[in-house]
């Protein structure tokens, strides 16, 4: 019986890493947005940083999808 354990490690690692990146960035964005609602003085700064986090999160997702489409790598 030949089981490829390495590929399970790859799946586990990829899952953990990508989820941590996406959830982390989104949560950071939520936090920044929450701060922006409380401090009117720096509202624009925090809000922009929050949107930046959301955008980075979206980019990370798109990159992940790009990675798994075989026709882009031929």
């Amino acid at each position: 019986m030949n089981i490829n354990w390495i590929s399970f490690l790859i799946v586990a690692g990829a899952t953990l890493f990508s989820t941590a990146v996406v959830v982390g960035l989104y949560a950071l964005g939520v936090r920044l947005y929450a701060i922006s609602a409380e401090r009117p003085a720096e509202r624009r700064l925090h809000r922009l940083a929050g949107y930046g986090c959301f955008a980075a999160c979206a980019l990370a997702v798109l990159y992940g999808v790009y990675l798994i489409i075989p026709s882009f790598h031929k």
């Binding site: 982390g24 989104y26 949560a27 947005y33 798994i68």
Partner: protein
């Protein structure tokens, strides 16, 4: 014969989409992130897109699981027919009884059972079975569960805010995760397309190879991909009424931040596995994530009895579908009469089950998704509400 098998395969694909709509869209609908109708339409479209993205899983099924081609055992369309019949019947039965099961395992079980009866124990490549079907089935939900737990902790930790002076809790805006859920659940639907739609493609390709319409070792043809994608998208769309009907019956208590974490880890785990050609059960991965993310919240307790019921359903599916597939294969062995017998018996059973489902009342027990059943494994103690009740 080949046409009959392909038709049955499309029916299986349809039931698969039908079965799994709730996996992707139940949580965002429950948290109010998206309205039921657009949610279902979105899931259908993304399933369609996902089916085109990667065909690795289809290749696992069409070339590898069962020794096909000139060197191996002769797989006949009749055997595949029997296998599919086993899968469809088991799928309908579990849906009717509200048992948690996986349509993917039903498919594999049916095919394996039919192959063993039709061509002996040597016809199945057990090493491929173990490394690409059984092990992913066990490990992927575990991986997704652990990752979802960690992600939920992360999401809560990053959004927890205290006032630096008074130490009191500040408003945390975790409702913001609701918008994220629209995207994360879309990803789950996409991932579903890259894994589940592939299974039917693999089966149809296997039929075409066994009927000498296609060379062994080649991937699915374009028309097969298009047709399978359409079938699963249609099934997904048709399955929507179940969610809409059961919305009133009270879904598992899922918070937006938790749902976002669970969905992200589900999508990540499925997409990573699809890429390596692992044919896993999307239902089980989603269930693993929901349980994991539930445990990531404070005051979570596992209901072991419910967990045991879910696990039992998972273990039972493959062998049970194998038995049904084996019986159908045995009948199909008798020749044309056997196949007709199979087809008639299958049609009658499916029709009977459908009628029965119409008659019986749709409630929380038989209509909510398997993932939701898994969500009930985790009990969240509601301290605040209890305290408030006592205060009154």
């Amino acid at each position: 014969m080949v046409v009959l098998v392909i038709a049955l395969a499309f029916f299986f694909d349809f039931t698969n989409g039908f079965h799994d709509t709730a996996n992707a869209m139940a949580t965002p609908i429950a948290t109010g992130a998206i309205k039921p109708k657009p949610a279902v339409a979105l899931a259908a479209v993304l399933n369609l897109v996902g089916a085109f993205l990667s065909t690795e899983v289809a290749k696992t099924i069409s070339g590898g699981l069962i020794h096909e081609g000139s060197g191996g055992v002769q797989i006949t369309p009749a055997m595949i027919f029997a296998g599919l019949l086993g899968a469809v019947l088991w799928n309908m039965l579990t849906w009717l009884l509200g048992l948690p099961s996986s349509s993917s395992h039903a498919l594999f079980g049916g095919l394996i059972g039919a192959a063993i009866v039709g061509a002996g124990f040597g016809s199945v490549d057990y090493s491929v079975l173990m490394s690409k079907v059984i092990m992913p089935a066990v490990l992927a939900p575990l991986i997704a569960g652990v990752v979802a737990l960690l992600a939920t902790r992360l999401a809560y930790a990053l959004t927890r805010r205290h006032d630096p002076e008074s130490g009191g809790k500040l408003r945390q805006w975790r409702g913001g995760f609701r918008y994220g859920q629209i995207f994360s659940s879309s990803l789950v639907a996409l991932a579903h397309g890259t894994n589940d739609a592939q299974k039917t493609m693999g089966v149809i390709t296997l039929v075409l190879i066994s009927g000498n319409f296609q060379h062994a070792g080649t991937g699915p043809e374009l028309w097969v991909i298009v047709a399978c994608a359409l079938a699963i998208a249609l099934g997904t769309y048709a399955g929507g009424w179940r969610i809409i009907r059961t919305m009133g019956s009270g879904l598992t208590d899922v918070k937006p931040a938790q749902g976002f974490s669970a969905e992200t880890s589900t999508a990540a785990a499925i997409l990573a596995s699809s890429n390596l050609g692992f044919a896993l059960s999307t239902t089980q991965v989603a269930s693993g994530s929901v349980i994991g993310s539930g445990l990531g919240r404070r005051g979570a307790v596992v209901r072991w009895r419910t967990a045991g019921r879910v696990a039992l359903g998972w273990l039972l599916t493959l062998p049970a579908a194998a038995v049904v597939g084996a019986v159908a294969a045995w009948a199909a062995h008798l020749g044309t009469i056997g196949v007709i017998l199979d087809a008639v018996a299958g049609a009658v059973l499916v029709a009977a089950m459908f009628m029965w489902s119409r008659r019986s009342h749709v409630d929380h027990q038989n209509a909510v998704s398997e993932v939701d059943a898994a969500g009930e494994v985790v009990l969240i103690k509601r301290k605040k509400k209890l305290a408030a009740a006592k205060g009154k």
